[in-house]
């Protein structure tokens, strides 16, 4: 590791903050031009600035899981095009191949070289989740897929802009292969705008401070992160830590797959070995090495590097291994359509478990340990003919709960820990884009993993079709029969994800009577519980679709929880009176805690645990 001596401290701070500001402006450009709620509302995108060899220098303050693949993307562009004359000033590459650095085909990246004085000196990038990229099902990933070729257009690095000239032939070729081409086309142009802003601002910076200073600061922020991260690792105990996470259902059968991790902390380095993980699956839950790497970083960045800039410096102190052909380092043609919420998420969940056990064993850093944070996504895709008469698919990204920490409860409705600007779409926005009428959107009672500190509650919501008679719902998630968000040190896991359709309901009568149901139990009908992955299922006029995400994992023994906090949770409708009694051992009487009754009940529960 080199000490950065090319600049004085003042210039270093000015230039490094300029780099942050450029990523902020790039992100603003993306949000302002994109018409997709996945970008504008759910913030499921990120931007970055990298050095000429692909080292990630400054990451935007959005979804880190999306940005963790950028070094791989640039490395693949350099391999395909060579670092010589083929990469020209004014070029921009479009790329989404999971075997060329992308996470899954839906995450379309546009990556742009930055030239200064006719030399390649840096890169800017933007990656965002698309509404569709072609393939066998509207929205692209399908639980029925058996090969990556069924999951949409797979683009190796292609020049979308060549020497400043937009390549309309490439653009038209992409749009010919996707549904909702209007939205996708606008999003692609938004990526070009984003990189144009990045290229221009970086060029200004190079012109103002000079090549040597600017590049030495870009390298300097990487070196600083590496130094700080290695120093932190030296403060943590030498250890081997094991963790297992699970994915239920591969799209074809309800098999449970295990993701096995052995993490080793030795001196100032950390290694992650996923040997022992199950072989790649026949369905769309696999991830390539891109998901493996960004999944690990999705745990290390927030838990260990909460005060260290997230960049290549941290990645340098980490080694990652998984057998080729395993679920977390799959070979073609294995499908990877939902790598972003399955394989990669499970890699991250196992890494969170291991990192938190390591932190929890440290006298200095135990406060950073916590339960797993929103371990399973359960976003439904609402598809069919929308209220405007167009064929459409809308991915409604809602939110689970945060893992409880060693000193506080997890945030309710937290979104992902790897997203530093978490956001979920407004219901009104969802209703604008999708032919659906939402009935309620609320915290699911008891979904936060119980513990001394409670995991955050997940959101549950329900909707009926609206403005169209041709509406289906499909979904891919995990954690329906085994928890996606495990607890820690005696804390319970977060609640399972749950999706169901209630058919032949009385919803019309309820709405005509001027009432709005506040829970699914208030609606009569026949319940059909859906599996973790379900293909598009049509909604009749009287059908109600119900969906819950996974709550966050709890921390510590629930019998150690302050009874007043349990009472407050019951008042807030986040914990049920039944769970207050059976899990927390808290006796409530007339709106307050019965302290002696609680003490007696907790003693009884402890005796019961030991069979006394």
């Amino acid at each position: 590791m080199r000490e950065n001596k090319a600049t004085d401290p003042f210039t270093y701070e000015i230039v490094s903050h300029k780099l942050w500001q450029i990523t902020e402006e790039m992100a603003l450009a993306m949000k302002n031009v994109s018409g997709s709620p996945i970008v504008t509302e759910a913030n499921d995108f990120n931007v970055a600035i990298s050095l000429s060899d692909g080292q990630l220098s400054t990451m935007g303050a959005h979804n880190a899981l999306v940005a963790g693949v950028i070094p791989l993307l640039i490395r693949n562009i350099l391999e395909d095009y060579g670092s010589g004359d083929e990469i020209c000033k004014g070029d921009m590459f479009v790329i989404n191949d999971p075997h060329k650095g992308a996470l899954h085909q839906l995450d379309l990246a546009v990556v742009a070289p930055v030239h200064y004085q006719n030399e390649l000196v840096a890169w800017t990038s933007v990656i965002a989740h698309e509404v569709d990229i072609g393939g066998m099902q509207h929205g692209s990933p399908s639980p029925k897929a058996t090969e990556i070729f069924q999951e949409g257009l797979r683009i190796p690095a292609l020049k979308l802009v060549e020497k400043g000239k937009f390549q309309w032939d490439i653009f038209r070729m992409i749009l010919s292969n996707v549904r909702q081409a209007g939205l996708v086309g606008l999003d692609i142009k938004a990526r070009v705008a984003t990189n144009s802003v990045g290229q221009a601002r970086l060029y200004d910076l190079l012109s103002r401070f000079g090549r040597k200073v600017t590049l030495s600061v870009m390298q300097g922020v990487i070196d600083r992160s590496e130094k700080k991260f290695r120093e932190r690792l030296l403060e943590l105990p030498e250890s081997h830590v094991g963790a297992i996470d699970y994915i239920d259902h591969d799209g074809h059968t309800n098999k449970i797959y295990k993701i096995v991790l052995k993490m080793t902390k030795e001196s100032d380095s950390l290694s992650f070995d996923y040997s022992g993980t199950d072989d790649q699956a026949p369905g769309h839950i696999n991830c390539t090495i891109s998901g493996l790497i960004t999944g690990v970083m999705g745990a290390v960045f927030p838990y260990i590097c909460y005060d260290i800039p997230w960049n290549q410096g941290v990645m340098k102190a980490i080694s990652i291994h998984a057998p080729e052909g395993s679920l977390v380092n799959c070979k073609p043609p294995a499908p990877t359509g939902w790598a972003s919420i399955a394989g990669m998420f499970a890699v991250r969940n196992a890494a969170i478990q291991a990192v938190c056990k390591l932190l929890g064993s440290s006298r200095e850093h135990w406060r950073q340990a916590g339960g797993v944070w929103e371990g399973g996504k359960a976003a439904p895709v609402i598809m069919g003919i929308n209220q405007y008469g167009e064929r459409s698919a809308y991915l409604y990204q809602s939110s689970g709960g945060a893992g409880a920490m060693a000193y506080k409860d997890g945030y309710d409705c937290s979104f992902s820990i790897s997203s530093t600007k978490p956001s979920i779409p407004n219901i009104e926005t969802a209703e604008t884009f999708a032919p659906a009428l939402f009935l309620f959107n609320r915290f699911r009672k008891d979904s936060g993993g119980s513990g001394k500190y409670r995991g955050g509650a997940a959101l549950e919501f329900a909707f009926v079709r609206y403005g169209s008679t041709d509406v289906s719902v499909g979904g891919s998630g995990h954690g329906a029969v085994i928890p996606a968000s495990q607890g820690i040190f005696g804390g319970y896991p977060g609640g399972f994800i749950l999706r169901s359709i209630k058919r032949q309901t009385n919803i019309d009568a309820i709405l005509v009577a001027g009432k709005i149901p506040q829970s699914i139990e208030e609606i009569d009908g026949n319940v059909e519980v859906l599996s973790a992955k379900f293909p598009p299922t049509s909604l009749d006029s009287d059908a109600v679709f119900y969906n819950s995400y996974s709550g966050g994992g709890g921390y510590g023994d629930p019998l150690d929880r302050d009874p007043q906090s349990v009472l407050q949770d019951v008042i807030n409708d986040i914990v049920s009176p039944e769970a207050a009694r059976s899990i927390y051992g808290v006796v409530l009487r007339r709106g307050s805690v019965d302290l002696s009754g609680t003490e007696t009940l907790r003693k009884t529960i402890r005796n019961d645990r030991l069979g006394v």
Binding site: S361, Q486, P493, G556, D557, L610, G611
Partner: protein, 94 residues
Amino acid sequence: MNRISEYLEITDRKTGKRDVCCSKCGYILGPLSKGIYSGAVTRNMIPNEISPVYTKTDQTLFRLYYCPGCATQLKVEPIVKEAPRPPQLPEIEL
């Protein structure tokens, strides 16, 4: 004393070797070399019987680990009935 987790630490006061000790009640669970939960009381429970928020399933169980001295719940481990935890995988080796 070295910390292992929220409720466990390492002590050498009983055997002169590194033992796992409950930090709440002082109970010695056993030698660290055997694994931090080797001396814990365990029982398996059906998730749905703990809370309806864990949907009914016949595929999985929760294994609960308790301190034999004070019954503190040390760990809740999801178990797949047909695929037990790999025996060589450590919880944490310090």
